[in-house]
């Protein structure tokens, strides 16, 4: 037996109304006016596919032991490294075991997320692994005034695959693989290159998805009416409806494609939609999920009673509710590095990352792992070999202590206009963790005028530097002030 044992999601807080894009760019390409409805989720400037995957993975692992993971599969087409296991960064951020695990990247295709799920389910069914975390995430850059800019959103989702306490039993899968190239992104290219929409709609989404789903039904002997939700990505609203009609899916049983509230999150989207469906699902519900891209994966699940025991999580619904308007289109283009704004001479400093230090301190830098003194019990970060408690000062008598999931309170803060930042002022402060330990962090996802001493914060894994000279992306954790009501 295998199935989904937990799930989580992450949609970034900024939302860009498509009308804002139209107001700024329709002069250049009026066709975008045709899809001006709704809004898309936009990653903050310090987020990327890896950081969003970490957020979704933490959400998914709430109430589950991260040390119990046997593998982590990361699916994305926007991984920061071509040669360095990106899943390894996510795994380190989760402070996963290093020995006896096998992590992997699933890349280069919009259906890589569903393919990673099938692999995970196969290995759990085969008994070779007990718990596999699948995280899918995309943060695709798009040229200004394009349909891709209108359709694409940023986001991530994660599902935990296992054999025990399954919340959605795996009923099987079916795949079509064919070299249908509706769009592609060549090696070292920044943007997607897309072909005519009419062809992509009719011969791509509109034909391949129904064929794959029909194939699954034929193979399993199940009927489309057995499913309470059929989940397939398709950002063309008319085609999304047409697929349902063609397969005989009742209107309310075709899972919403989230175009209105989030946009298409690429590799993550089948999982984002699946998690969204699971959040509303009841025991006994059967779900069919499809991933589209150079073919189509189809997976079927049946929700169990265990879904009622799941711990509260942010999920897709919670992240969609935590929204702030990004009313400034220029800010969006700067966040995505589509325009050149001066960071000043102060912002030129670009020291390389010491890979020896990164290796030695990987738990600290990627996992936000500090220590707790075995003698006096004081949690501390950063770690020095001597306990920070002046009434203790014992040496090297520590155990690991994770700060990544601890809440904290702001002790002092500022918004700094001098510090080079893509989104000035640079906000940072000293925070004290519940249960002990304190240190200074950059803050993110916040507005200076809403921050107060004493306000709660939660930690978030973020991109720290994108070193374009060497192609290195560095990460660390930031504090997110928890404004009552989730912001504006």
């Amino acid at each position: 037996m295998a199935g989904i044992t937990s799930f989580g999601g992450y949609i970034p807080r900024y939302r860009l109304s498509r009308m804002v894009i139209v107001q700024n760019m329709a002069w250049y390409f009026p066709v975008i006016m045709a899809v001006a409805g709704g809004e898309k989720a936009v990653a903050n400037w310090d987020e990327d596919s890896v950081s969003m995957a970490v957020a979704a993975a933490y959400d998914c692992m709430a109430g589950h032991d991260r040390k119990g993971l046997d593998a982590l599969y990361f699916a994305s087409t926007t991984m920061p490294f071509a040669d360095r296991l990106n899943a390894g960064i996510v795994a380190a951020a989760l402070n996963m075991r290093e020995n006896g695990v096998s992590n992997a990247d699933f890349a280069s295709c919009m259906k890589a997320g569903t393919t990673a799920m099938i692999s995970a389910l196969d290995s759990v069914q085969a008994g070779s692994r007990k718990n596999v975390l699948v995280a899918a995430s995309d943060q695709r850059r798009t040229k200004m005034a394009t349909m891709f800019e209108m359709f694409y959103g940023d986001g991530a989702a994660a599902v935990l695959i296992g054999g025990k306490d399954v919340v959605a039993d795996y009923l099987g899968s079916y795949s079509i693989n064919c070299d249908f190239v509706d769009h592609y992104r060549g090696q070292a290219k920044e943007f997607d290159y897309g072909y005519e929409e009419r062809w992509v709609r009719d011969i791509g989404y509109g034909k391949v998805i129904p064929e794959a789903i029909s194939g699954f039904l034929a193979q399993s002997g199940m009927k489309i009416g057995d499913f309470s939700k059929v989940i397939y990505p398709c950002y063309f609203g008319g085609t999304h409806k047409a697929i349902a009609a063609r397969l005989g899916i009742e209107k309310e049983k075709a899972q919403n494609n989230l175009q209105a509230v989030c946009g298409d999150t690429g590799t993550a989207h089948p999982l984002v939609m699946l998690v969204s469906a699971l959040e509303e699902a009841n025991p006994g519900d059967k779900l069919l999920v499809a991933g589209f891209g150079q073919g189509c994966d189809v997976l079927a699940f049946e929700v169990t009673e265990k879904i009622r025991d799941m711990k509260l999580r942010t999920g897709i619904k919670g992240s969609l509710d935590n929204r702030v308007d990004l009313a400034n289109y220029q800010k969006f283009t700067k966040f995505r590095n589509l325009i050149t704004a001066d960071l000043g001479i102060r912002g030129e400093a670009n020291p390389n990352t010491s890979l020896t230090v990164l290796w030695r301190k990987r738990k600290m830098l990627l996992g936000l792992v500090g220590v707790r003194c075995k003698k006096c019990g004081t949690p501390q970060f950063p770690v020095y070999p001597t306990c920070v408690n002046p009434t203790c000062w014992s040496v090297n008598d520590f155990e690991d202590y994770e700060f990544s999931d601890k809440e904290a309170k702001i002790l002092m803060f500022t918004g700094d206009m001098l510090s080079p930042s893509v989104d000035p002022p640079a906000i940072y402060g000293l925070i004290a963790f519940e249960g002990g330990g304190r240190t200074m962090f950059d803050f993110t996802d916040c507005d200076l005028n809403q921050i107060k001493v004493g306000m709660k914060t939660r930690m978030s894994f973020r991109r720290r530097q994108a070193d374009n000279m060497r192609g290195f992306t560095g990460y660390f954790w930031k504090a997110v002030p928890q404004v009552e009501g989730g912001g504006k």
Partner: protein, 402 residues
């Protein structure tokens, strides 16, 4: 049993360059300018100097590494020169090295010199320090600057004492207004225009809640001192000796940053000043300290420091400041008579010695329009680093026998 430094060493000469944006001069010229005045003041020959200590902070953008820049610029006769760097305490550290060398009997006459040439980097503010914080720290430390680091103190100070930020800002503004008034009286100061509280409060924000006038000048400059024993000073014909009364240093050990602290005060200053008073034999600093030059890198730093020097009571510095207690003619303890870092300027490695220079001038009655009546003890204070992690130095000098 240690007996402290009190009256064991005398300052026989001091010099200080013009501070400011010295576009046409490098650190070499600045050092020679200060040294020439200093040597003349001491009335000795360069060859009488047996050893030197040199303070400079940003070797990356100024003089470069080692003490060679001093030896080369001043053409010292192949004597011992030691480079010290301890953030903003670097100048006072150089002084401490020279003073201790003389006190130990190792040398008769020693030089302390500090310099910083900051205006060669092409942008405002202090040099960017991400590459100077160590290979590990640069991978995780918040993206902070000097103004931001100190600005945070205002938020926690206000929270601690339940003060409205506008009240704190007004007191901070008065701190700057007072220093501008003093700086206007000083021909060697970088910034010489008086300002009003309204100007300070309406200035552009640098780091919440600090505005432009809450931040000190970023300047080029050099200052130096020649020290010897009181006996040798007398043998050289020196009268009305100014002697060293106390030299204390205190460094954070991470307690503030990582263990337990309300963000309302400087742990190090509190300790170093108490020890300095003891070393100098001062029981009631509010009554006995005649004047001070403190590390007003930012107005909030000076405000809070008044409490850590045990002159204002905890939480009462804003009241004392608003009462004019620290003004030049306020009847209290004049603070920053020379304009402070705020207006005299802050070439880091020179600052500690520049502060001592003003105290020295005042004690000798040579402070011109700024001259205070019969000062006995002058205190200087440096704070290098950040409120949560810093190096604090305190020096007290005074009239021999005071």
């Amino acid at each position: 049993m240690a007996t402290g430094i009190r009256d064991k060493v005398a300052i026989i000469g001091m010099g200080c360059s013009q501070f400011g944006e010295r576009w046409n001069d490098g650190p070499e010229e600045l050092m020679v300018e200060a040294f020439t005045e200093c040597l003349q003041d001491a009335g000795i020959e360069k060859t009488d100097i047996q050893a030197a200590w040199f303070g400079s902070c940003f070797d990356e953008v100024g003089v470069g590494k080692s003490a060679l820049p001093v030896s080369m610029s001043l053409r010292l006769p192949n004597i011992s020169v030691t480079r010290v760097e301890n953030y903003c305490a670097s100048g006072t550290e150089a002084f401490r090295g020279a003073v201790y060398a003389v006190a130990s009997g190792a040398y008769d006459i020693a030089l302390a010199i500090g310099v910083e040439k900051l205006k060669d980097i092409g942008y405002g503010g202090l040099p960017e320090f991400s590459t100077a914080m160590g290979t590990l720290n640069q991978l995780w430390m918040a993206n902070f600057t000097a103004p931001g680091g100190f600005a945070m103190l205002a938020t926690s100070y206000a929270a601690k004492y339940g003060l409205d930020m506008n009240e704190v800002k007004r007191a901070m503004a008065h701190v700057s207004v007072k220093s501008h008034a003093n700086g206007a009286l000083n021909s060697k100061a970088h910034l010489r225009k008086p300002v009003t509280e309204e100007q300070v409060l309406n200035a552009p924000q640098i780091a919440y809640p600090l505005g432009l006038f809450d931040c000190c000048g970023v300047s080029d400059g050099s200052a130096c001192a020649i020290v010897t024993t009181p006996e040798i000073a007398k043998s050289l014909g020196k009268k009305d000796l100014v002697t060293v009364k106390a030299l204390q240093l205190s460094l954070s050990n991470g307690t503030e940053f990582a263990y337990d602290w309300d963000g309302d005060h400087f742990v190090t200053t509190s300790k170093a000043s108490a020890e300095a008073y003891q070393e100098a034999g001062i029981r009631n600093p509010r009554e006995e300290i005649s004047m001070m030059e403190v590390h007003d890198c930012f107005s909030i730093t000076e405000l809070v420091t008044m409490e850590d020097l045990h002159i204002s009571e905890r939480g009462k510095a804003p009241e004392d400041v608003m009462d004019g207690f620290y003004d030049l003619n306020g009847g209290g303890v004049p603070c920053q008579p020379d304009g402070g870092l705020k207006c005299f300027g802050h070439p880091i490695g020179a600052s500690g010695l520049r502060m001592l220079y003003e105290m020295y001038l005042q004690l000798h009655g040579r402070a011109g329009q700024r001259q205070l009546k019969d000062p006995k003890f002058g205190l200087t204070h440096n704070l290098g680093g950040f409120p949560f992690m810093n190096v604090c130095s305190i020096a007290i000098i005074g009239k021999q026998g005071a």
